[in-house]
Subunit: 343 residues, 4 copies
Amino acid sequence: MIRFESDYTQGAVPEIIDALVKTNMEMTPGYGTDEYCISATEKIKAELECENADIHFLVGGTQTNLTFIASVIRPWQAVICADTGHINVHECGSIEACGTKLLQIPSSDGKIKAEEIEGIAYGHFSDPIREHSVQPGMVYISFPTENGTLYSKKELTDIYTVCKKYGLYLYIDGARLGYGLASDRNDLEMKDFATLCDAFYIGGTKVGALFGEALVIINDECKKDFRYMEKQKGAMLAKGRLLGLQFDALFTDGLYYRISDHAVRLAMKIRLALEAKGIELLYDSPTNQQFPILTVEQADKLSEEFAYSTWCRVGEKVAVRFCTSWATDEKDVEKLVEAIKNI
Amino acid sequence: MIRFESDYTQGAVPEIIDALVKTNMEMTPGYGTDEYCISATEKIKAELECENADIHFLVGGTQTNLTFIASVIRPWQAVICADTGHINVHECGSIEACGTKLLQIPSSDGKIKAEEIEGIAYGHFSDPIREHSVQPGMVYISFPTENGTLYSKKELTDIYTVCKKYGLYLYIDGARLGYGLASDRNDLEMKDFATLCDAFYIGGTKVGALFGEALVIINDECKKDFRYMEKQKGAMLAKGRLLGLQFDALFTDGLYYRISDHAVRLAMKIRLALEAKGIELLYDSPTNQQFPILTVEQADKLSEEFAYSTWCRVGEKVAVRFCTSWATDEKDVEKLVEAIKNI
Amino acid sequence: MIRFESDYTQGAVPEIIDALVKTNMEMTPGYGTDEYCISATEKIKAELECENADIHFLVGGTQTNLTFIASVIRPWQAVICADTGHINVHECGSIEACGTKLLQIPSSDGKIKAEEIEGIAYGHFSDPIREHSVQPGMVYISFPTENGTLYSKKELTDIYTVCKKYGLYLYIDGARLGYGLASDRNDLEMKDFATLCDAFYIGGTKVGALFGEALVIINDECKKDFRYMEKQKGAMLAKGRLLGLQFDALFTDGLYYRISDHAVRLAMKIRLALEAKGIELLYDSPTNQQFPILTVEQADKLSEEFAYSTWCRVGEKVAVRFCTSWATDEKDVEKLVEAIKNI
Amino acid sequence: MIRFESDYTQGAVPEIIDALVKTNMEMTPGYGTDEYCISATEKIKAELECENADIHFLVGGTQTNLTFIASVIRPWQAVICADTGHINVHECGSIEACGTKLLQIPSSDGKIKAEEIEGIAYGHFSDPIREHSVQPGMVYISFPTENGTLYSKKELTDIYTVCKKYGLYLYIDGARLGYGLASDRNDLEMKDFATLCDAFYIGGTKVGALFGEALVIINDECKKDFRYMEKQKGAMLAKGRLLGLQFDALFTDGLYYRISDHAVRLAMKIRLALEAKGIELLYDSPTNQQFPILTVEQADKLSEEFAYSTWCRVGEKVAVRFCTSWATDEKDVEKLVEAIKNI
């Protein structure tokens, strides 16, 4: 079975495994205060051209989202997000469990628009009895979205402008950030995120690491006391260096970008094969996830050799997801391309 | 100014005021253990023909909703409700503040359907990786809804059947219960609620009392330890007798029903006047709230003499709400009817 | 049976009952925006000589405590209090239910000391790995304490000085504030509270009202968005005027002070009788609660005619509590005094 | 610098590193459903002679504690623990952040007694107005305690008997479980934990793993829906196999016990050296943590060559902590022993 069902089925890039082996018996202080965390922090700051950013290394995406959001939002505030947003549908109510309501914007492709955000914010703050409703306090978006789509620099700038107008924090979930940056259709650079939001995270779990996400806090208002929250939420790894050395490796010599390019290049091969076959795509994704709408027969046929995830029904057909990753073998993609041709 | 903007602008029925005056210097134990609470409890149980119900008296609707829901729902469970549900839009995130996500069903008239509930429940429990999403644990509906509409006995039975099939509690917000029961179009009796849900509350604040809601817990699983939750949420009134004597009065000699009938009868006069004038209604409400869609001129004209609440824009027009209550003066309604004729 | 077991067994002062009767059929807007709330607010501000205070009227003490504390404390912060503090022992974990830890100072009389607070705060903020522990964020004290004792102006000033040194809010629970101010041994005036803490509440439930507490927020940092929290916690009374008119009555012509004096004067009669009899007191309370340590025989004897609350065992003896209130009949006190003489 | 300040300064046992390297490019399903997790589960069940246990692998101790406790405790319930308990002092209020109060028992050595637990439980459940206080719902103890001390089989049996009498869950924090089992003074076996509590965790982070704790749920009532909670709290590792393969290695051929023995044997060498020198120990610890009370001169002298953690002031002296671990080099211990002789 060749597996394309997710982008976290394998371990880590060899550089990370090597670093783990090499440093195993070193003695370091705990909780992210070690030299590897410091070195990784410096490398990411350099990448962002932002000396003032605070960088924290956490283990997973749900953990990063809930810890950051809970650290800045007040109890009566809400987070605006797409109804398809990961925090809304796939984190088992983790944000609400911290006491925070999500205000959902219906989305057909995973993206939300500056005007939609403004509609909610204006509606709220112009309401004379607004205290009967939650107060918008933050906007959450994903880059790329859960559907593989991307915000353009213009779209992101517009969203951040609205956020600042209404005093909303903008937080970006970058679980697959590398795969967004690697897209041909992307016009944002890593460093742009340091000026176009209040905080974001650089995903490692899906992009080359065993586990780990690097939370980048840009806005000074959001920095103080974050480590308390990290500890309280069980998100402060005792042997924090395990995170530091992974991100140190990923941000040495452009490794993070190189492995992301690999994944997206292979995803585009799959996409081309699907399009050549006349198979419709559920979302127009220029990144590492592809969502073909297959007939049941096509889906069954492919499942004999390839694992994918089932996304949703589309009339009589079924939309499925194929993911590539840093670890995908080009030969496996060639086999898939060949199989697509023949269904 | 004649006020129709809400159904809680005035004090209480004279019977309640008399009881307050008469009992003022009596000494009673606190926290709902007094004789007035006991008496009111007995009267409500008799009304429900349900000796096993647990009755608790709380001060307000938001408080009752959050205290009950938080007392039965587990942290990973969610409450299914209409997107227009009071807990979703007008209680400032009180349910989420207790850690619970709401799963919203889009509704055009405030009602949700058994099939829609089943769609969510089946979808969840048949998902092999369901623990990534919140687990449906309860259904919340309002009777009447926030839009004045009613569930029929058939509809309520269907909903409760689905709830039992999937292990969901059914909880009914009866802030305006009396006004629902009083409607010509209603086919439910008070006692039906004792067999068609797990818990509900009988609204007092909007139906004759100074304040107060009587929570009725039918399902034994939901009864134990409720008083802890009541205390923890600040919902246990020290001089609990103030609630007991109000509900004792309301459930003596059918007062609750009589005053509800009054309100609905007057609301129907307003409705007829609106219909006679050819004014469209936003919702088809057979209860004490009426939602005409007015031109801006009509709305302005009426606002000279009458207070109403503004509901939403409808194209160039505006939908507004007129409420009657137990306290509405028939002469005021006649003036409004006259005014409607002339706009 | 003559009841001394608590100070909330009876209704309200006649002035309040009169106001309720008189205003019953008036139509007012809801949620504390009515004229009675405005009038009461102005009267309290005048009393405090503090035009900038924000005043909110809530229904009960637990509700007021949890709503205010939750509105200002951040998730990683804790509240320092006496281990005997009401929020620590008699509010069913209401503060923890909002996510906040209490840091308890052992207390023999209900009071805590500035040095004890400083010990905790200094210890925390000087700890290099302080994020492993909760961060002190607030000090909670009661005036009078749950044991009837009082802070002197010097003691309160010292506590507030330490609070400001370490960035802690000082919040005072004034459930029995009137009875503290009325004591011969008290050297604080109502207006002093406007300069010696960040927020406090003026208790009504135990001091003349049917129910109700007036929260006074002094510190500007604590004011913004409080009404959201009030709504979210189910603490915003629909017919808010019921609270406004009660406090309006209490703060007209010094009624609040007059009724408090009455209660404390009678409590001192009881205390003198106990002391004359050589009965030891558990706490040296100069306010409306008295805690004699009785032999089992004495306790049994008194219980034939008088209701009191049992406090705790003291060796072979038992400490009990007698409360007077605004409503206590002097004749009942005389009977108790006589009974004490004869046990 | 030779480091004895904690037992988590180094990586993992070679067997784990080897497994990571060997399996790196394998493709496995996520979230703990892979073969390595299944294999580790089977090995632990065999060790416990308990086929019905549920085993979940989580990343860290704070995370394990909060996730399990929050999954079984109801909102009005509290957890009884020693005032020195890790959840009470070193997890930044993580349990309260989930809404749960801790009821603390003062402890001089980290242990609590069955009678103390019974005192709290009996006091609560016999109180007629118990709903004003939180309801005891669980007992939390650590084995070994944070002070290195151990419960005997008799003590643990007594505690569990009281727990069952009052309907309290017993949960054991086994962050250093191996080091407790390895002690000469211990009379408990791993499998005893399967019959003497409702749930416990086998610590990996401090005992040979890079990270990871194996939560063992014995009581059927606590099992259902745990994975929802794990997901919600951000505690479900995407590449769950990383945990599975670590515990698989630790529970192959008795590795977990062997490495624990090593640590405790070396700790006893340090203890003997301290005792020979006449240095008092703060706690009578038969496990891997030793707490000598040093003069400031002694402490300074040792700090030139050895890192330790400072525990607390003891009069003019200072208590410090030396930890050994699976990774401690015997030569380093010999150097420390020599240094102790000469101070």
